[in-house]
Amino acid sequence: MEKTGKKGNAFTNNPIVRAIGVQRIVVVLAVILLAVFFCLMSPAFRQYSTLVSILDYSYYITFMAIGVTFCLISGGNDLSVGTGMICYALAGGYLVQQLNAPVWVGMIVTILLGLCFGVLNGVMVSIMNLPPFIATLCSMLITRGLGSIITGGLAVSWPSRSSEGGWFRSLFKIIDKGTLIPVGFGIVIIAVIVMTIVLNRTKIGRYIIAIGSNKEAARLSGVNVVKHQMMAYIISGFFAGLAGIAYAATFSSSVAPGTGAGLELDAIGAAIIGGTSMTGGSGSIIGTLLGVFVMSLLKTGLPYIGLQANWQQIITGLVLIAAIYIDVLKNKRAARK
């Protein structure tokens, strides 16, 4: 990344390359290569509707991944975002479908529930000092069970596009006389910009980086470690809530209990592909967004070349191994310097 040091080749020493970061350039190239590859392999892939469905896939992953990026940078992790997202969407949708609450109430409840679990994760990690991996693994189980209990084990449908309250789907995709307009991408861009500023230009972000870099030093410098570590998980919970809404609005006509497990890996994978370190202290939101495109291109593209769900999982797993290995190598090199 930026810290390639003084040695290196002409490419890594180029000031423009250094400013953008080698890893980000590589990820952009990977996105382009993947897109070109799928376009060449499958005529059906070369359609505007495919682009829109790639974007549809990307929204909920992006939201989860932004939250998880904060947890990773703080030196932790959040495994509960996948099942959490489904749980919050189930609870919100249940209110709308079964109790006839207005859609906006369902959306607010979805986000509030996300915040609650964010606080829970934050309390476990920063106050009770549980290892983040285990703590959020437990809340992953809890949200998975809770989602089923709320709906009595049944799937929940948020209002369809034509029915009353279907307007919320237009927040992410407008269908105007058959033309698809992916407005959700605008929301994603806004979220990325805002969270990039939060990470790099506010105290919350600065302290989260500091804690992930050297927790003891941050504490001795007078940083409120408990509060800011908790903030990372609350941000993650909030974005898992947003992801729940995006999932309900774009990805699926109905939300089924028990479907979220494994989706957290898409988010964590996207963050790591985007250059966020597994060991904390460094990472970027823009990198994460690029990582999301790698993940959603794979998810959307692989079926076009005839590889179905099981193969997708294998390939996603392999891509993650590669991304984490790169992170390990980077840390090793930094340690030898």
């Binding site: 810290k3 600065r206 302290y207 980086i209 500091a210 001795l220 410098s221 940083v223 030898r336």
Partner: protein
């Protein structure tokens, strides 16, 4: 004489089994540098930790600016104007220099952090100190010396009135030390009270000396000549060893029954040399001969098979399995000799363990005692036992007495001398000058990954070693 700004009177502190501070007095005056010296483990750091509230004192009073105070944590002390520049630096490597200096009190513009202004303010601080560091550089890219300058800048920006330097020179090169002393003189001119902790006598005769009243400094008698016969066979020969950036073209020989001291500053590449030799880190090139035969060592397993044992400086991480008992630790390196069928032969394991507990005089209620419950010195003995059980002839002691209290220290020294007399060959890496001069038969000095000197103990002096350790 300057005005008294800080007085510590009758400070007493005990830990289980150790009387760390025995009614110590300390007076710090404005515009003076106070040297605080003594052996490692003499209680210098403990005294400073009591001052800044990391430890609570058992007895005594602290008076600061005319008022009796008691700080509960370093933050409170810092707010009052007492700052420690630590030996182990407390820096966040992923943040920039300016971000580190102003952490916890960032300049803001509305909601946003004003990094530009922080860089400017940091620049001003550096100008004031006459040092040249780019405030926007990532902390992790700086040398240890430069990082220390940043800590000093941070202390000054806190409007510190008393600055405590905790063994600052341990990791610095000669030019960096000169730079540091210049800064300290400037700070003195600005009427700050300065405490300078060191165990290097040469540095400490500057202003006035506070004797530690601890009375448990062990008397050091340096060796005057090598204990090894001149015709002792070479058991280990290392030629042109290269590994990463920290080990460059290192060659040396180790004789039977010899204690070969490795001296140098922190980060000189001594541990890295040992780890590369032991196969714990990959080596890029170089040959290793044991008893004249060339051997290939690619992993610790290979090294152990060739009779090399490594006692890490970080015992808890690399040396022992703290949650296991003495017997389990002792046979760890050669468990296969202590199995019957598929089961561990508990009787045989107990016998050999007891033998080495007796021989090394390990203080323990029994061999089934968990290692975590032993003192540092006795843990070290368990590690030694592990390698002796394995029949290792070459032992690498990396900082053998780090974190070991003074009494146990001399026992470890005694043990090493005994092992050498029995014909074991020892490589001892140590950052403590008295330890190097007391124990070694021959001394190799390293600096920045290179061997800069090889000195026979008969000719060795502190000055010679320090000079070689700071050769660029």
């Amino acid at each position: 004489m300057g005005e008294v700004i800080l007085t510590m009177k009758g400070i007493d502190k005990s830990f289980p089994g150790v009387h760390a501070l025995d009614h110590v007095d300390l007076e710090v005056r404005k515009g003076e540098v106070h040297a605080l010296m003594g052996e490692n483990g003499a209680g210098k750091s403990t005294l400073m930790k009591v001052l800044t509230g990391i430890y609570t004192k058992d007895e005594g009073t602290i008076t600061y600016e005319g008022k009796e105070v008691e700080f509960h944590n370093p933050r409170e002390a810092q707010e009052a104007g007492i700052v420690i520049v630590h030996q182990e630096l407390n820096m966040m490597n992923h943040l920039t220099v300016a971000q580190n200096i102003f952490i916890g009190r960032e300049f803001k513009k509305g909601f946003l952090i004003d990094d530009a202004r922080m860089n400017e303010e940091a620049k001003k601080l550096f100008d004031q100190l006459g040092i040249n560091i780019n405030p926007a550089e990532k902390m992790g890219n700086l040398t240890v010396g430069k990082q220390q300058m940043c800590e000093i800048a941070k202390a000054i920006s806190h409007e510190a009135k008393v600055i405590i330097f905790d063994e600052p020179s341990a990791a610095l090169t000669e030019t960096e030390i000169d730079e540091l002393f210049k800064i300290i003189r400037d700070l003195r001119a600005k009427q700050l009270g300065i405490v300078y902790i060191s165990h290097i006598t040469e540095e400490c005769t500057k202003d006035d000396i506070i004797n530690m009243m601890v009375g448990r400094v062990i008397y050091e008698t340096p060796k005057t000549h090598s204990m090894v016969a001149s015709d002792a066979p070479v058991v280990l020969k290392v030629e042109h060893l290269n590994a990463g950036k920290m080990v460059k073209d290192v060659s040396f020989e180790l004789h039977k029954g010899e204690i070969l001291g490795f001296s140098g500053l922190m980060g000189a590449g001594r541990t890295e040399t040992a780890r590369a030799l032991f196969g714990a880190d990959p080596k890029d090139s170089g040959d290793v001969y044991i008893n004249g035969e060339k051997v290939e060592i690619h992993s610790p397993k290979d090294a152990v098979a060739h009779g090399i044992g490594y006692l890490s400086e970080d015992r808890k991480r690399y040396g022992i399995v703290v949650g296991k008992n003495i017997a389990e630790n002792s046979t760890l390196a050669c468990l296969k000799n202590y199995v019957k069928g598929i089961f561990i032969d508990k009787k045989k394991e107990a016998d050999i363990t007891q033998k080495y507990v007796d021989r090394l005089k390990t203080k323990t209620p029994g061999i089934d005692q968990l290692v975590v419950n032993l003192s540092g010195g006795n843990q070290q003995k368990v590690v030694v036992a592990k390698w002796l059980v394995k029949d290792c002839d070459i032992l690498i002691f990396d900082e053998p007495t780090r974190g070991i209290d003074v009494g146990a220290k001399s026992e470890i020294y005694h043990l090493m001398n005994e092992l050498a007399a029995e014909g074991k060959s020892i490589i001892m890496i140590s950052s403590e000058m008295p330890e190097i001069l007391r124990m070694s038969d021959r001394i190799i000095v390293m600096c920045e990954g290179r061997k800069t000197a090889e000195i026979d103990i008969a000719e060795a002096t502190q000055e010679k070693i320090m000079h070689a350790a700071t050769l660029r």
